[in-house]
């Protein structure tokens, strides 16, 4: 009854008070935000929604540069102490004013379990408000990428959170449901006025936003998730939605050729690659017993030269990929064009290297591949397998749904067998190589399932985590890449490409992490 009444009332109000033409963008993507609680899920679509209504101390700009947001300025008074000066005149959507207390509360909430942001800011030891507009953050040692990490931490109102029972991000033990999961109260340019999960979320312009001198002319956004690719494209073509940031590659041409629509693209900060277990004594799925072919660098190099990524780009990705020579994307600190230049596709060299390494007849191995996580993941694996066959390496494909694939790669399958060769994609939200190193190359890296272990690399990773002199740090990063590229630890495939499609009069700037910022959008 209440909902009917509010629908009727809002229709009436909108009829009386709305401007002659309210600029609305109907936005669609396959998934919906899982929760409106900005600390509860470190997940793509969830943060995309939070990014429109909540703000952080700092934020990534259109080109992923770190910009001040709720913090106007900051200084470091010691290696482990940061002072942030909080912007004045900022209010939450419920009208209350933003103070440093809210910032400190939010950082502490985000770094305490059961928040999902705990791992991201574990270097933060404490956050406290020195006065109403100053926050002191202490870290456990120098952290040169603290700002990058803080771009993912949103600020909530302490009073509102406590009043609504969500002082903690979620309480598993008590089994309670959270008010903050279905309601939002941020400082951002839009506020959420309607929320029905998987159906419709309505954002309306926050007329009291501190940044309203920005020129955006969006009055309303409606998020209408549509899971099925073909249906989403149909809805775009029929005019039922205005903008989508997930476009199936096979429909790009179709949308582009439609008179009233446009497609934009940009390389994504996610790279797809194969991992080869080089550390185990023997491969589980191979016919070679007593030794591990992947332990020999010549074999890994042979596998690299066997891949024709231009053919895959052309036939499998329909042009929507950027063949890679390094497993991190342009824009990430440590990436250079020279490093990203791929070695030649050269099956003859592959065969020669295999023979030299003692495998003139090749060998067998199983490739583990997800089939619903990355763009055309299974199709890429199938194509790669036929390429490996040409050099004599018989690869068997084991493709499965992402939840099974990742748990098997991380922990081994039901019998405890680890993966010999697997596909993985790695995005870098902090735009710094340290993120890649700590997970994929460090001996104890939680996603280093190729069992790569190099003492010098471990030293470098530890050092780059705390080095504040940028030149010294970049030199460490460069040295680490020298070692690992030489080692051919992983087989880089390509950087994914982000595609967005919209009506021709709707202009949403495209960004590398595929996160739309509607405060920079325009409806013409």
């Amino acid at each position: 009854m209440k909902k009917t009444l509010s629908i009727v009332l809002s229709v009436l109000v909108m009829g009386i008070f709305s401007p002659a033409s309210a600029n609305t963008i109907k936005w669609s993507m396959p998934g919906d935000s899982l929760t409106l609680d900005p600390h509860a899920q470190n997940e793509g679509p969830t943060h995309m929604v939070s990014r429109q209504v909540y703000e952080g101390l700092v934020t990534p700009g259109i080109n992923m540069e770190v910009l001040p947001q709720l913090a106007e300025s900051w200084t470091t008074t010691a290696d482990d102490t940061w002072i942030f000066n909080i912007r004045r005149g900022v209010t939450f959507h419920d009208g209350s004013s933003l103070t440093a207390g809210d910032v400190a509360f939010s950082i502490n909430r985000a770094k305490t379990a059961p928040s999902d942001m705990v791992d991201l800011i574990k270097s933060v030891k404490s956050a406290r408000a020195i006065d109403d507009h100053t926050v002191e953050v202490k870290t456990d040692g120098p952290n040169p990428i603290l700002l990058n990490q803080l771009t993912q931490i949103f600020v909530m109102s302490e009073a509102w959170s406590k009043a609504n029972g969500c002082e903690a991000s979620y309480n598993w033990d008590a089994g309670e449901t959270s008010y903050c999961a279905s309601n939002a109260n941020g400082t951002g340019p839009f506020e959420i006025t309607f929320r029905e999960q998987d159906v419709r979320t309505v954002f309306e312009k926050n007329n009291n936003w501190w940044g309203n001198h920005y020129t955006h002319n969006i009055d309303k956004i409606e998020l209408l998730p549509i899971k099925n690719d073909a249906t989403r494209v149909a809805a775009l073509l029929s005019g039922e939605i205005d903008y989508t940031n997930v476009v199936p590659v096979q429909d790009i041409k179709r949308i582009d050729s439609s008179m009233g629509h446009a497609v934009k693209m940009t390389p994504q900060n996610r790279t797809i690659f194969f991992g080869m277990d080089q550390g185990s004594a023997e491969l589980n799925s191979s016919n070679i017993k007593g030794k591990n072919p992947f332990a020999d660098k010549r074999v890994r190099l042979a596998m690299y030269h066997a891949l024709d990524m231009d053919a895959i780009k052309d036939k499998v990705m329909r042009g929507q990929s950027v063949p890679a020579g390094i497993i991190t994307a342009p824009g990430v600190n440590g990436h250079t064009a020279a490093r990203d230049k791929r070695m030649a596709y050269d099956p003859e060299t592959s065969k020669r290297l295999l023979a030299e390494a003692g495998y003139p007849d090749g060998f067998e191995v199983t490739l583990d591949c997800p089939n619903d996580r990355y763009i055309n993941d299974e199709a890429i694996c199938v194509a790669a397998i036929s390429m490996f066959a040409k050099i004599g390496v018989k690869v068997n494909l084991d493709a499965k749904t992402k939840s099974q694939h990742f748990s098997e790669v991380k922990e081994g399958d039901a019998n405890g067998m680890t993966s010999d060769m697997y596909m993985l994609g790695w995005g870098v939200p902090t735009f710094d190589s340290h993120y890649v190193y700590s997970y994929l190359f460090e001996s104890s890296g939680s996603w280093n399932k190729v069992n790569f272990s190099n003492a010098r690399v471990d030293e470098l990773v530890a050092a780059m985590g705390v080095e504040t002199d940028l030149d010294k740090r970049n030199a460490m990063i460069a040295e680490a890449w020298d070692i690992t590229q030489e080692d051919v630890t992983y087989l880089p495939l390509h950087h994914q490409v982000v595609n967005q499609a919209s009506k021709s009069n709707v202009d949403v700037p495209i960004r590398m992490n595929n996160e739309p910022l509607f405060r920079f959008a325009k409806v013409n």
Partner: protein, 325 residues
């Protein structure tokens, strides 16, 4: 009479317990919910924390009895991903699925019976053959292809029907309905056609076969010989008797419709239980998956139980057999 009922009731309860056990086992055998919960780049300590918090470390029988106790009280736990009560989620989504299934079943029966009667009476006419061939498409084309084709025809090219969603929905407290708004009714058209097609085909062929058989029987011949009007013979006598198996099949098929609605709901972004279930599978959200299994099993079991009971009263042969034993 009571022994018949109790036997059926006992069987129903047994089935539910087995289903409950299977859906409980999901918790141990399907993917790893911990990584789904904490993300790929979470630390080992964090994962161990979460594993303990959701009770994955207790022995199996403890977990199962806890599970059974909760389910009986209607508590299906809290969704791992959405962090809301699963029973709330199901209650929210059920009206959408049930309305879709109801309209599809109605469509399948009405159109199926009409066309079945027509093709039964005019066995070899040209129109009958067209109907039979086209109805084959309903069974052989996968549901999602039919759905996408309808979307492209009616939404993209003609622009007359919506391609996704339920339209405007009126909230009546416990139930949200799309029947009372124009956009809600328009949104129902394509998904219900898509979902009803395969059942429609079965009904057409079933009614056709029944009609053809009944029209050969003696009592029909005598009725015709007596001079009773053709329409009366066909509809009042033949069809009425031919409908009994249709009722049984339809009752059972409603369960199948609910199962197939997963695909239709995914194609049309219909916010029902099927879409909820599919999303839960992607995220390994086991509370939702197991709750869905139990709900669907419950609906199947209940419908079959009702059909069995109704049959007891409709078909005298069952009553006699029961009384004799």
């Amino acid at each position: 009479m009571f022994s018949y009922f109790f036997k059926r009731l006992f069987q129903a309860i047994l089935v539910m317990i087995v289903v409950a056990f299977v859906s409980f086992s999901l918790f141990n055998f399907v993917g790893d919910p911990v990584i789904s919960l904490t993300g790929e780049d979470s630390s080992v300590e964090r994962q161990a924390e979460v594993r303990e918090a959701i009770g994955l470390n207790d022995p199996v029988y403890v977990q199962f009895s806890r599970f059974l106790g909760n389910v009986i009280q209607g508590d299906f736990g809290i969704s791992y991903q959405l962090k809301r009560e699963v029973s709330d989620l199901i209650a929210e989504r059920m009206p959408a699925t049930l309305e879709l299934v109801f309209v599809s079943a109605l469509l399948a029966i009405i159109v199926g019976v009409i066309l079945g009667v027509y093709t039964g009476i005019h066995r070899d006419s040209f129109v009958s053959n067209i109907i039979l061939v086209v109805s084959l498409a309903g069974v052989s084309l996968p549901t999602f292809i039919i759905g996408i084709m309808l979307i492209y025809l009616f939404s993209v090219i003609l622009g007359v029907l919506p391609s996704f969603g339920r339209g405007e929905v009126i909230d009546l407290g416990l139930w949200s309905t799309g029947f009372l708004t124009a956009s809600g009714l328009k949104a129902l058209i394509l998904p219900s056609i898509t979902l009803s097609l395969f059942q429609m085909t079965y009904v057409i062929r079933l009614v056709r076969a029944e009609m053809m058989e009944i029209l050969q029987t003696d009592y029909i011949k005598f009725a015709k010989a007596r001079g009773i009007k053709k329409n009366t013979v066909n509809y009042k006598h033949a069809l009425k008797n031919g409908l009994i198996p249709v009722i049984t099949i339809t009752g059972i098929n409603i369960g199948t419709l609910i199962a197939f609605s997963i695909i239709t709901e995914t194609v049309f972004q219909w916010p029902g239980m099927g879409l909820l279930f599919i999303n839960a599978v992607y995220f390994v959200d086991i509370p939702i998956m197991s709750a869905y299994m139990i709900m669907v099993a419950f609906i199947f079991v209940m419908i079959n139980f009702i059909v069995d009971i109704t049959y007891y009263f409709i078909d005298p042969r069952i009553r006699i057999k029961d009384e004799m034993s």
